[in-house]
Symmetry: C2
Subunit: 286 residues, 2 copies
């Protein structure tokens, strides 16, 4: 099945079952993360799906929020595609390179990316893995069984801030810069290991193209590894890294401009399409 | 005033006003972070303090939880004391080196630090700044006014994991390894700029000793800088970095052993005293 988080009114959200062209059927949880934390949420969704359909939100009226607007953990893996590792001139790693974001970074599949005070805004199309069970020091088999499903992310990165210091966090954690969605495709419908294409476009031009089968650290391995040091819970999300083709790897380097449109897509899941807005920073000293 | 978060029953917590030897007066919020998010929390605390004292928890019966067990953001600054920068052989930075943790890392002032699967557990005594108002792209003056107060932290670091990749996150984000407390001292009672001693002891031996007046990036500057890219909210906390004297800087390097006692103290705030427990990791492959 496919799940989404819809906006309701000014500030509210609701989890919903995505019915394709038929729209979205609201579910009794505020977002997909909250839904995944309910015991036996699959049965709940099935029961709602069998019931009254009068509440369906037509597709053209639905406004997608970030899929997991209240995710407790948004953990990202860098340097996870062989071609991206190569374009950065690095060696194939023994361990996953991990960094953290907060849920404030997340926006919906059609929201504008609003960046304040960066002149080197770059793209990173990524497959994201959504956690469906609590994992503490789990082996790979347990981790695989705990994958709720998959979605699409773009780990938009402010390269000027990212390279100011040894730690990437400040260039990766800008509020409202990481689109996540449009839907979660449950693991049973998306065998990630089989290999799915991940593509990034800028103003319609294909700039990134990778395949999930070439990930150095696959989804279950990443979740197992992370769970050795920190507990993962339903609704947490792990971004698996970006394939080659980022702007800073180009000759000359290329960055997003105000008004550009960034499109990120993965076959079998869907696409993000985000207008880029680049604003001046608030303080001249930074 | 001094504020604490106490454990109540199996899993509950309550914010409390710390009355020194007289104990703790519970406040109507689940923890200090939730208290700081209430409008006019100072007046609320004053009203409770003037009322009935029968609810006071004697000091010897109080069990301290992590000061901010549900902090939305725990952002750390590395390389912020000149002597620590020197012991690591680095240059004085133009920008703060920042990385993120999650609240799962936090434990109370007297809790055991339980580490699974690291053989290089190191200490980092730190002054922590607690946010008291929402800050988005704030200048330093606004940031200074938004400091609720200060507390003590030890950014216990698993150096083997920290050095596996370029990003420190995995060595810094182990669950239940960052003691935070014992109390928040409100900013009016703790003029951090005047210079306070930060000390770390292992089994009673002084190993770290710095002074907050020598921070490269002071509390208001850090909060202002961070708020340029991500919103800070009441109950968020920023760890300001550690002075010289960490174990990995010693000749030969020295790390914590199972059964060691780590004590971290800042004059005018109080101390953390944490037994160190080092356990084997769950999987041989990591």
């Amino acid at each position: 099945m496919k799940l989404a988080t819809l906006r309701t009114g000014e500030t509210g959200t609701t989890a919903a079952l995505a019915l394709g062209a038929d729209g979205y059927l609201p579910l009794p949880a505020r977002d997909v993360g909250e839904l995944l934390a309910l015991p036996d949420w699959q049965a709940l969704v099935a029961a709602v799906a069998k019931g009254e359909k009068s509440a369906v939100v037509p597709a053209n009226e639905a406004e997608l929020a970030a899929l997991l607007p209240t995710a407790g953990k948004v953990i990202c893996c860098g340097l996870n595609y062989a071609d991206h590792i190569q374009e950065l001139g690095r060696e194939r790693p023994d361990y996953p390179t991990l960094f953290a974001k907060y849920a404030d970074t997340l926006i919906g599949a059609a929201d504008a990316i609003e960046v304040y005070g960066s002149e080197r805004v770059d793209w990173e199309a990524e497959l994201a893995v959504v956690v469906g069970a609590t994992l503490t020091r789990a082996g790979e088999e347990e981790a695989a069984a705990a994958i709720a499903g998959y979605t699409v992310a773009n780990d938009v990165s402010m390269r000027d801030w990212q390279s100011r210091t040894l730690q990437w966090f400040q260039g990766k954690a800008f509020d409202a810069t990481t689109p996540l969605g449009p839907v979660l495709v449950t693991a049973d419908e998306f065998p990630a290991g089989h290999g799915f294409d991940v593509r990034g476009h800028v103003n319609g031009e294909l700039v990134q193209h990778g395949n999930s089968s070439t990930l150095v650290f696959g989804p279950a391995r990443l979740l197992s590894y992370i769970s050795q040091f920190t507990t993962l819970r339903p609704g947490d999300v792990v971004l698996t890294g970006t394939p080659g083709g980022v702007g800073m790897g180009m000759e000359p380097p290329r960055f997003l401009k105000d008004g550009d449109v960034l499109r990120t897509e993965i076959d079998g899941i869907g696409q993000l399409e985000n207008l880029v807005r680049i604003r001046p920073g608030a303080t001249a000293s930074h």
